[in-house]
Subunit: 402 residues, 2 copies
């Protein structure tokens, strides 16, 4: 069954669906109160939503004195898919209508192998989840990619680490394959949406999510919506220049934040330190594996290696320098630190906090929590499901969709 065009018919129906997504099974009495709809008007909309397969009945609520109110819920067969494409891995999750994760698979990829190979692997994972019975009828998918995206067109735009992806019609191709509506966004935006929906930013409408992984990016949520910027590149903070005499960056410039503080920069510095004998821990690790990654540094930090701790603090210091300015500028209510390097945890966080609290405007930091991501690897896929459910649960061409 193709669901491409199935959307609610009016704003009332869209509000019913979003309320059920957030609250789970709800009595008609409560729905009517929340939405300020009369019993008869609500019944009309629920009848239409039932006919379209969006909702179903779920028994009766406990009596509140009069007639027992029947309970409505999103159809048990509602399925959203979140796909999170990273530089070296792809995560696929399937959720129900309430966005609970029912199945989550992950596999290694190399994003530079191009869209056909990478999207093929994502589809394989969707197929596996389908075969396991987790997903049958897919209502929509939200896909995150590690680079700038034209959200309107659903295509990557000059993504630096993704040769072959520029202007590739990800949305159209995947929508064809899945037989369902698809939206494409930057991976960090999806992580921010995920934390906003079900993580540490649940009650916060203005916040920043900084992902420190192979690269460094920032998701911006303003007034409850992702701010994507006019070219879809908002939050691309990895190439903010820290100084004019810094290390060379993969982008061709020098002194970028990423060249100092990303997972790739840490791996580079760890290798150098191992080679000159600055750290026996890292030297042994290099000997064993032939190459060092950011994960080796976090392991070294966990083992108490002073050189690795110093490196991680250095990364936190540089991230803090950039973030201090962004906090003064944006005055967020929360900063979330995420990504592989953030896995190293509290010594990184302590350094970032120290720099931001010292350097940002006091008014902007007076009540500013800086915390680690709660959902970790699930943030992106939950954000993807959230993004596409916002779309599916809105009126086609309606004003609610921005």
């Amino acid at each position: 069954m193709r669901r491409m065009s199935l959307r609610p018919e009016n704003a009332q129906q869209a509000r019913v669906l979003r309320l059920l997504r957030g609250n789970g099974p709800t009595s008609r009495a409560e729905l009517g109160e929340s939405l300020r709809l009369s019993r008869s008007k609500l019944a009309l909309e629920i009848d239409r939503l039932t006919e379209q397969g969006f909702v179903e009945s779920d028994g009766f609520a406990a009596s509140r004195g009069g007639r027992r109110s029947s309970i409505v819920r999103l159809s048990r067969t509602t399925r959203f898919v979140g796909i999170d494409i990273g530089a070296t891995s792809v995560d696929v999750a399937v959720t129900n209508g309430e966005l609970d994760v029912l199945g989550h698979l992950s596999t290694e990829i190399a994003v530079y192998e191009g869209p056909t190979a990478v999207l093929g692997k994502a589809l394989e994972l969707v197929g596996k989840l389908r075969a396991e019975g987790v997903a049958t009828d897919i209502h929509g998918a939200g896909i995150g990619i590690p680079g700038p995206v034209s959200f309107r067109d659903g295509v990557p735009v000059v993504p630096p680490i993704m040769p072959g992806w520029d202007q590739y019609p990800v949305r159209e191709a995947m929508s064809q394959e899945l037989g369902a509506p698809v939206l494409v966004d930057n991976d960090v935006n999806l992580m921010a949406l995920g934390e906003h929906h079900a993580g540490v930013a649940r009650s916060v409408d203005d916040f920043l999510l900084v992902k420190i992984g192979t690269g460094i990016g920032c998701g911006i949520v303003a007034d409850g919506d992702v701010h994507r910027g006019v070219s879809g590149s908002a939050g691309d903070i990895g190439h903010i220049r820290i100084d004019d005499d810094g290390p060379p960056c993969t982008c061709g410039n020098i002194g970028c934040l990423e060249a100092y503080a990303s997972g790739a920069a840490l791996a580079r510095d760890a290798t150098a330190a191992a080679r000159v004998g600055q750290s026996t821990y890292l030297a042994e690790r290099l000997e064993e594996t032939g190459t060092l990654s950011a994960a080796d540094i976090t392991a070294a930090v966990a083992a108490g290696d002073p050189t690795a701790v110093q490196m991680l603090r250095g990364s936190g210091h540089r991230v803090g320098q950039v973030l201090a300015g962004l906090v003064s500028f944006f005055n967020p209510g929360l900063v979330v630190i995420a990504g592989g390097v953030a896995g190293a945890g509290h010594s990184l966080l302590a350094e970032i906090r120290s720099v931001v609290y010292r350097r940002s405007l006091p008014l902007a930091t007076g009540n500013l929590p800086i915390v680690l991501s709660e959902l970790a690897d699930a943030a992106g896929v939950v954000g993807g499901a959230r993004l596409i459910s916002d779309h599916v649960f809105s009126v086609s061409g309606g004003a609610e969709e921005r």
Copy 2:
């Protein structure tokens, strides 16, 4: 007549008022089409708006075949007031309902003299405009102040250059005095609103306005709305740290953008240059007046003094450094440069452009105009009128107001 509580009764009426504000006198036929209201429904709303004194009839439109459609306009007596309080001056303007400026007066003040003295002078200017017959019945006022504001409470919050203003109830006090609703905002936010309404940012919904005056601040417009941040301090970029060994700043820290690039910093550097004989132009000026201001530098630049040109370029360079990061982060569609120092014009602008275009993400600058303010001294007062008209032309407690 007290207008404190006069607001449209429903969203339809609010839309009529905002449409008339933007378009001027409009035929009922056009209004009905734009708002998708039937002739009878529209007539009903216009009758109510006429009774309340919001709108009036304005003759008949040319026939389009059938019956001639009557023209509706905002009441000719509608008056909004914009008040722009700066560090050293206050501007007051009165507009009609369409926000055309009918009268504009300015006087020197010292903002550190405190709210009673400064607001008193603003009220004197309002009184003069009233005496001239420009303003009779005031429908509302928007007030900008040079510091952080709690927009919700209408009070300044720890404003650094405004001793005595912290938590002063500016909104309540002025609302009492004027007998009309008042909103208070940061001065740079109002300038951004002004340029958005009637200046260079008319068609742009995501832009930054950077004011380089005695201090340095930034107005942020995201998706057509001012982004104020959770403490009202968003855009306070003057104290972003450029480096750790820079000149001392008035805020007590070192190396802030303002300590390098503000009008106050330029005046400090000009005085030093005059004293050591680096510039005969500035030395003569200092001899004449005993003190140098940013205005002396812009005069020196206009006269071709190489030292002054160098200083102004230095200011542009530092502003460009900070702005480059903010452009990568926010990905705006336009950057507007405003404020007293911007009066020096194109050599400043050229330097800012050069740094931003070189250092920001190419995707973010690919189609990014960086231009001078169009409204100059009128931006703040027009923005004030716009702000309060948005409030007066919205439903009380309505969802349109954010």
